[in-house]
C-alpha cells in the first residue's frame, strides 16, 4: 500500500473541523511503520465468529479467520477530506438475503507507527444481519473508510473501540439504510490517541432505524472529535444520537451531531442526547446539536449539557467510605454507561465497559 501525499488537510477555519487537531497527521503520514510486534491476545473477545487482524493496514492471514469476509479491492471511495486517502485494498463483508455471519465479526487493527488508510464495505442484503466489532491498538495513524449498505430490514450492529496508546484514529462511516433497516453504531474513544469520528447516515427508505453514538474519554492534551450527520430522507424513520464526553487535564472532547429531516420525511422521530463531563476546569468539552427540519410532522428532541461531577453526590459516597478517586470513578462510570449500553451482545458490551473502567482507573 503506497502512502498518499497528505495535501489539503482541512484546517480549523473549516467549520466542520474547527475542534479537530490534525497537526500530527503530516508527520505520521511520512513516518514508516516500525513493524514491531504488538501482543494482541488481550484484545480478542473470542466470540466464536470470523476474525481479522490488520497490522498497519495489511491483513495478517496467519492470525485471521475471515469467514465470509473478502480482502482486496472494495470499490469503495469517498470525497471526505481524510477518507479519500483510503483507496487501496480493504475488506468487505457481503451477506446475501436472510444470511447472518456465524457470530460477531472481530477485527483488530494494529498500528506500529506510520499511517495506514483502509477502505471497507459492509453490504447486507434484505433481512441479513451482522455484528462487527473493531478494536484499534498500537501507535501511528489508522485512517478508515467504512461504507455500509443495508437492505430491507437488514440489521447491523457496529461497535468500535479506539484504544491506541498514541497517534491518531480517524473513522469515516457512510451508511445508507433501506426500508426497515437498522443500524446501531457505538464508538468508544479511550486510549491515548487523537480521534476524529465522522459519520453520514442516510435513512433512505421508510421506517429505518439508526443509532449512532458512544463515549469519548479524553485526558492529557488529547483531542477527541466526533461529527455525525443523520439524514432522514424518507418517512417514519427513527434516529438516536447519544454521546457522552469526559475530559480531564487539558484535553478536549467535541461532538457535533446533526439531524436533517427532508421535506417528505414525515413522522420522523429523532433524538439527540449530548452530555459532557469536565473532570477538571482546564479541560474543554464542545457540544453542538444541530437540527435541520423541512418536514412539518416530526418529533425531534435534543439536549446538550456540560457539567462537573455533583459535589453533593461525591461527599455522600465519601461519607460512606469511598476514597475520592473511587467515588469519582463510580459517578463517571454511571455517566458513561448509557452510551455503551446500546451494544447488543453482552460480551462486547462488557468489554467496552471494562475499557472505560481501565481508562477511569488510570485517570482518576
Amino acid at each position: 500500500m503506497s502512502s498518499p501525499a497528505i495535501l489539503g488537510l482541512p484546517s480549523p477555519r473549516d467549520e466542520a473541523w474547527r475542534w479537530s487537531d490534525l497537526s500530527a497527521l503530516p508527520a505520521l503520514a511520512e513516518a514508516s511503520p516500525t513493524g514491531g510486534v504488538i501482543d494482541t491476545s488481550g484484545f480478542w473477545l473470542n466470540l466464536g465468529g470470523p476474525r481479522l487482524l490488520f497490522v498497519d493496514g495489511r491483513l495478517d492471514a496467519g492470525l485471521s479467520d475471515p469467514g465470509p469476509i473478502t480482502c482486496g479491492a472494495t470499490g469503495v471511495a469517498s470525497a471526505h477530506a481524510l477518507a479519500r486517502l483510503a483507496t487501496g485494498d480493504g475488506w468487505a463483508l457481503r451477506l446475501g438475503a436472510d444470511h447472518a455471519a456465524a457470530g460477531p465479526v472481530e477485527i483488530v487493527h494494529v498500528a506500529t507507527g506510520g499511517a495506514s488508510h483502509l477502505p471497507a464495505l459492509i453490504e447486507l442484503a434484505d433481512d441479513a444481519q451482522a455484528s462487527v466489532v473493531e478494536t484499534f491498538v498500537g501507535d501511528g495513524w489508522a485512517n478508515r473508510l467504512l461504507s455500509i449498505r443495508l437492505g430491507r430490514s437488514a440489521r447491523l450492529m457496529r461497535s468500535a473501540r479506539l484504544l491506541q496508546a498514541s497517534g491518531f484514529v480517524s473513522l469515516r462511516d457512510e451508511a445508507e439504510l433501506a426500508e426497515g433497516a437498522s443500524l446501531i453504531a457505538t464508538v468508544l474513544g479511550a486510549g491515548g490517541q487523537g480521534t476524529r469520528i465522522d459519520a453520514a447516515v442516510t435513512l433512505a427508505a421508510p421506517g429505518a432505524f439508526a443509532e449512532y453514538g458512544g463515549a469519548l474519554l479524553a485526558r492529557d492534551d488529547q483531542r477527541h472529535d466526533a461529527a455525525v450527520a443523520v439524514r432522514h430522507a424518507a418517512p417514519n424513520g427513527t434516529s438516536r444520537q447519544l454521546w457522552r464526553a469526559v475530559a480531564d487535564d487539558r484535553a478536549a472532547a467535541s461532538i457535533a451531531a446533526r439531524v436533517e429531516v427532508a421535506r417528505d420525511a414525515q413522522k420522523t422521530d429523532g433524538e439527540q442526547s449530548l452530555r459532557g463531563l469536565l473532570l477538571r476546569r482546564t479541560a474543554t468539552i464542545n457540544l453542538k446539536p444541530e437540527l435541520e427540519i423541512f418536514a412539518d410532522d416530526v418529533k425531534c428532541a435534543h439536549g446538550a449539557t456540560v457539567g462537573e461531577l455533583d459535589a453533593r453526590a461525591l461527599f455522600y459516597l465519601e461519607s460512606r467510605g469511598l476514597p475520592p478517586a473511587q467515588a469519582k470513578a463510580l459517578l463517571t462510570r454511571a455517566f458513561v454507561a448509557d452510551a455503551l449500553g446500546r451494544i447488543g451482545e453482552e460480551a462486547v458490551r462488557e468489554a467496552f465497559a471494562a475499557d472505560a473502567e481501565a481508562w477511569l482507573e488510570a485517570t482518576l
Binding site: 455522600y316 461519607s319 475520592p324
Partner: protein, 251 residues
C-alpha cells in the same frame, strides 16, 4: 468515644458553630434538638468532613484519634456514620453496587478481608428485610425515585450494612409515617444499641425518642449547646418550646 471541645466552624464565610462542646461515651444515646438554623446539620457535616465546612477553632477526638485531620472516607472507616437530613440521589449507580464498594473500601482501609458479591448480598438482604425495604429497591439507583420516607429507611439500611461505631442521624425521623417511625426506631436500637457504640440523634420531635430512649438531651441554639438534661428535657421542650431556654441563655 467522641469529644468535641470548643468547636467553631463556618460555611460560606459565615460562622455557624460558635464554641460547641459535647462528650459522648460508648453505650450512650444522645439527642440534639434546637430551632431551625441553629447549626445542627452543620455539626453533622463538620464532623463528617463535608467540603466547604471549615473548622476555625476547637478540636474533635474520636476513638482516641484526631477526627478533623482525617478525610471523609477515613472518618467513615474509623466508624463514623452520618445519616443525611436530605439523602442524595445518584442516577446510574445502584444501591447494591454503591454499598458493596463502600463497605469493602472501609474494610480494606481497616485491613479486613473484602466481602464477595454473595456474602455482601446476604448482609444487604438481612438489613433490607429488617427495615422493610424491598430488595428490588436496593437494586435501583441510589435514592432515585424514592419517597422521602424510603430515602430515610434506606439510610438506615446503609447504617445496618456498614455497622458503624458512632451514628449521627440528622432528622432521620422527619418524613416517616407512623409505622415507618417505629421500624426505623427499632432499627436504630437493633443496630446501634451496644456497649461499644453510640448515637447522636438530631431531631425536632419527641416521637422518635419514644422508641429510641436517649440518655441525654441537648439543646443547640446559635451554634452552641445551651442546655443539657435527661430524656425528660425533650418532653419539656415539646410542651414549652425553645423560647424560654434560648432566652435564658441570652440573658
Amino acid at each position: 468515644m467522641l469529644t468535641i471541645s470548643n468547636l467553631h466552624a463556618e460555611t460560606a464565610g459565615k460562622a455557624i458553630l460558635k464554641g460547641l462542646s459535647l462528650t459522648i461515651n460508648a453505650g450512650e444515646i444522645h439527642a440534639i434538638m434546637g430551632p431551625n438554623g441553629a447549626g445542627k446539620s452543620t455539626l453533622g457535616y463538620t464532623l463528617a468532613g463535608r467540603p466547604g465546612y471549615e473548622v476555625t477553632d476547637g478540636s474533635v477526638t474520636f476513638l482516641g484519634e484526631d477526627l478533623l485531620e482525617k478525610a471523609p472516607h477515613e472518618r467513615a472507616a474509623a466508624g463514623l456514620f452520618l445519616g443525611f437530613q436530605y439523602p442524595v440521589e445518584i442516577p446510574g449507580v445502584s444501591n447494591v453496587q454503591f454499598l458493596r464498594t463502600a463497605l469493602n473500601a472501609q474494610r480494606r482501609l481497616r485491613g479486613q478481608a473484602e466481602l464477595s458479591g454473595g456474602e455482601f448480598l446476604k448482609v444487604a438482604r438481612a438489613q433490607a428485610d429488617a427495615l422493610g425495604l424491598n430488595m428490588d429497591m436496593l437494586k435501583r439507583p441510589v435514592n432515585v425515585g424514592f419517597s422521602g420516607g424510603e430515602k430515610k429507611r434506606n439510610e438506615m439500611v446503609q447504617m445496618g450494612i456498614i455497622d458503624p461505631r458512632l451514628a449521627i442521624l440528622d432528622e432521620t425521623d422527619s418524613g416517616l409515617d407512623i409505622d415507618a417511625l417505629r421500624t426505623v426506631g427499632d432499627g436504630i436500637n437493633r443496630i446501634m444499641r451496644a456497649p461499644d457504640k453510640a448515637v447522636l440523634l438530631i431531631t425536632h420531635y419527641q416521637r422518635l425518642l419514644d422508641y429510641v430512649k436517649p440518655d441525654f438531651v441537648h439543646v443547640l441554639a446559635d451554634g452552641r449547646i445551651v442546655r443539657s438534661g435527661g430524656a425528660e428535657l425533650a418532653l419539656e421542650l415539646e410542651r414549652e418550646g425553645y423560647a424560654e431556654t434560648v432566652r435564658e441563655q441570652a440573658a
